[in-house]
Symmetry: C2
Subunit: 213 residues, 2 copies
């Protein structure tokens, strides 16, 4: 029975015991820190946000990383509904937490409706870009046994994710578009700054790769 | 029998068929391009450099990536000696190529003595730093199943390379020191520029990791 926030945090941590480095408990911790910052600036309900952030990826437990995120948000929302039955919190807040988790995916069909769901969505996307996003993209490529770079391949050439995949392709195909999808003002501001850093990184990467600089 | 440069390139390529992305044939190609640039600026023998660059990592074939580079330079030098027996090139040049390969390691006991060996040493180190170096460090961490970051660990805490390893630790322990080891003027100039870029990257990485920016 989840009686305290500590119970919830402890439960969520145990879901990540065998998670790969690119999607591990540390990602959840960073998203929680970003939620606290953006949520404060935007005036969101921090109690709802804190719990939603800690639980947002628990549906990944048991998924293969290469299979991606097909249903982890829906599965996580269902798990959260069960977990929160024993937790002392108002019904509307509980529903909001579940809504946050169900709608945090980048490729999700339904967009977040509440402010808290928008903040969680933005925080989760921010952790995929900037310097952390670059490091995660290459770590993930390494987990898949991928190449460092594949200059002959156009971004649209193959299905994600294969050994032909690279961090640069992930940037071109997905990470470079994230800043357009932000749903809060503070999230957008941070995304634009992180985006500029990624642009500078990959411009240098490509020119170093060709033997320049 | 290796009669032409094409024969040598083709032989070298076949040594990398199952190489991991962090130490594959593309690394050799980038080192060759860097050798051509630095060698031209420094006035080195480009024929010697070209062959030495293509062959410098052939001794890695069959090595496990996690075992590191204990003897690949010595092994590669021996392999090159055999390969070059049938190649039409002067004896001094042949000896120089073998010297280049034997002494290109960062942790090698013997330092490069000839200009060409210094250029190859610098080119190989340059490919470990800058934006390419950052990407390679995280790709390598992913290949080992390592974490994205381990803020509680001091760089000196564990043996390289374990799942506790991270790109940041690789930077602190090794990559940040490379610029001090350069042996040519042009190599040093490029290393300083790549070093500054890495500093900016990791400063941002750590502050993003903590939830800022």
């Amino acid at each position: 029975m989840m009686r305290t926030l500590e119970d919830i945090v402890h439960y969520a941590m145990t879901c990540f015991v065998n998670a790969p480095g690119s999607h591990d408990w540390e990602h959840t911790r960073r998203v929680r820190n970003l939620c606290r910052h953006i949520g404060t600036v935007e005036g969101a309900d921090l109690e709802v946000l804190e719990i939603a952030a800690y639980l947002h990826d628990i549906g990944r437990a048991g998924e293969q990383p290469a299979k991606g995120t097909r249903c982890h948000a829906e599965k996580g929302a269902q798990m959260a509904g069960e977990i929160l039955k024993g937790y002392s919190i108002g019904g509307a807040k509980r529903e909001n937490i579940i809504h946050c988790i169900r709608n945090h995916r980048f490729r999700g069909k339904q967009l977040p409706e509440t402010l808290e769901a928008k903040v969680l969505f933005d925080a989760d996307k921010l952790d995929a870009i900037g310097a952390v996003g670059i490091a995660r993209a290459y770590l993930f490529a390494g987990e898949l046994g991928a190449k460092l770079h594949n200059p002959d391949m156009r971004p649209e050439d193959t299905e994600a994710y294969s050994r032909e995949d690279t961090g640069y392709r992930e940037y071109r195909l997905k990470l470079s578009k994230i800043k357009e999808r932000m749903l809060t003002r503070e999230g957008r501001r941070m995304a634009e700054e992180r985006h500029r850093f990624m642009e500078a990184f990959f411009e240098r990467f490509v020119s170093e790769y060709e033997g320049g600089r």
